[in-house]
């Protein structure tokens, strides 16, 4: 797997723009993304936001599906710990992301391509920062090894 990743990195096109799928909670990250837009904050454009009623709604199979279909990175963004609209949905999301990372590791896939973040609906700046953080991480890892032969 490491060899695969290394090969992919060496083949990184000059302007590699990581495709990131972000599963966002309606009550925090999604609203923060909206606010970031209103505030004209800029962040890498290749993030595809998917709105969830709560980060706890995310299923491990959704995370795997996004990676399987060629996302370079996948993130889940939920409310600050202790502030979940549904009490503990973000903790459920945290456990699911942790388990999904284990599932990826057992098949030799770099689990750094998946991450969980916490923020509030007022944190537009943080949202932009998170997207940038994730984009930078994925840039270092290079394109997903699963996109071979997949058309853009």
């Amino acid at each position: 797997m490491e060899a695969d990743e290394a090969t992919s990195t060496s083949e990184v096109p000059e302007e590699f723009r990581p495709r990131i799928v972000a599963y966002c909670c309606n009550y925090c990250a999604y609203a923060a993304a909206d606010l970031a837009g209103s505030m004209r904050l800029s962040y890498p454009p290749d993030v595809k936001v998917i709105r969830l009623p709560c980060s706890g709604k995310v299923e491990i199979s959704y995370l795997l599906k996004a990676l399987e279909e060629g996302a370079d990175g996948v993130m889940v963004a939920g409310c600050m710990e202790g502030d979940c609209h549904f009490m503990e949905g973000n903790f459920r999301a945290k456990r699911k992301v942790r388990h999904a990372k284990r599932l990826l590791e057992e098949i030799g896939f770099d689990s750094q391509r998946l991450e969980m973040f916490n923020l509030s609906s007022a944190m537009a700046g943080r949202f932009a920062e998170i997207i940038l953080e994730m984009t930078e991480r994925i840039k270092k890892l290079g394109p997903t090894p699963l996109r071979k032969g997949v058309k853009d």
Partner: protein, 223 residues
């Protein structure tokens, strides 16, 4: 319910190695409730295998399907179309389901995706405890509804033994002494006199050491 745990990935990959068209077959009853082999787990395992296949440059066709019960012929028969499209079926049912699927599709490679572990219930969400061995001669009436055959490491009928310390079994500090639990339970039921009654050696002939056991409901058998 029957509880199972997914087999280690290395073992699954080794079983599936020669095949390209793979059907992950979930079961909608016990293993769904114990979160190890239902529709959700079938989707997760299928996702893992697809990612693995793409990463390794293999041309795998991973299909997933879940039926209500893999331990009944009517249900297993209904998925014939799905089975025929596959080279191999990885069943996420308990051992009973895997065996029935294997019996009904004798020509097909049928492999188990789970290790069937025990019969039990969840003590807290995500943790299951073994409660019944299916020994065929239930003693729960005398033990406050706590099974010493299953939950006592020695399956004692006249416990506790000297290894009971502070309510725990000597085999592990995490294991409750079944006879301590029985004592507390009988006390609450005001049936502590049961503790003083001697239970003679039991008849173990029902417990399954004489080959597979059979249960016949004569009124239901159609001649």
């Amino acid at each position: 319910m029957i509880v199972g745990d997914r087999k280690p990935m290395d073992e699954i990959l080794e079983m599936l190695e020669p095949y390209e068209n793979i059907l992950i077959l979930g079961c909608g009853t016990c293993v769904t409730v114990c979160l190890s082999g239902g529709e959700r787990e079938a989707a997760i395992l299928a996702g893992q295998l697809r990612i693995w296949g793409k990463k390794e440059g293999k041309n795998l066709n991973i299909m997933e399907h879940t039926i209500q019960r893999q331990c009944e012929k009517e249900w297993v028969d209904e998925m014939r179309g799905h089975v025929e499209k596959a080279d191999v079926v990885l069943s996420l049912a308990c051992g009973v389901g895997v065996q029935l699927v294997a019996e009904m599709y004798e020509e097909k490679a049928i492999y188990p995706g789970l290790n069937t572990t025990f019969m039990g219930y969840p003590v807290v969400h995500g943790t299951w405890l073994e409660n019944c061995r299916g020994c065929g001669n239930c003693v729960l009436a005398h033990t406050g509804g706590v099974c010493p055959i299953t939950r006592c490491a020695k399956s004692l009928l006249n416990g506790p033994c000297g290894g009971s310390q502070d309510g725990k079994c000597e085999i592990s500090k995490d294991t409750e002494c079944a006879w301590q639990v029985i004592y507390e339970r009988l006390k609450k039921k005001d049936q502590l006199d049961w503790m003083n009654s001697y239970q003679p050696p039991r008849d173990w002939s029902t417990a399954g050491d004489g080959g597979p056991r059979k249960s016949v409901k004569i009124e239901e058998v159609i001649d």
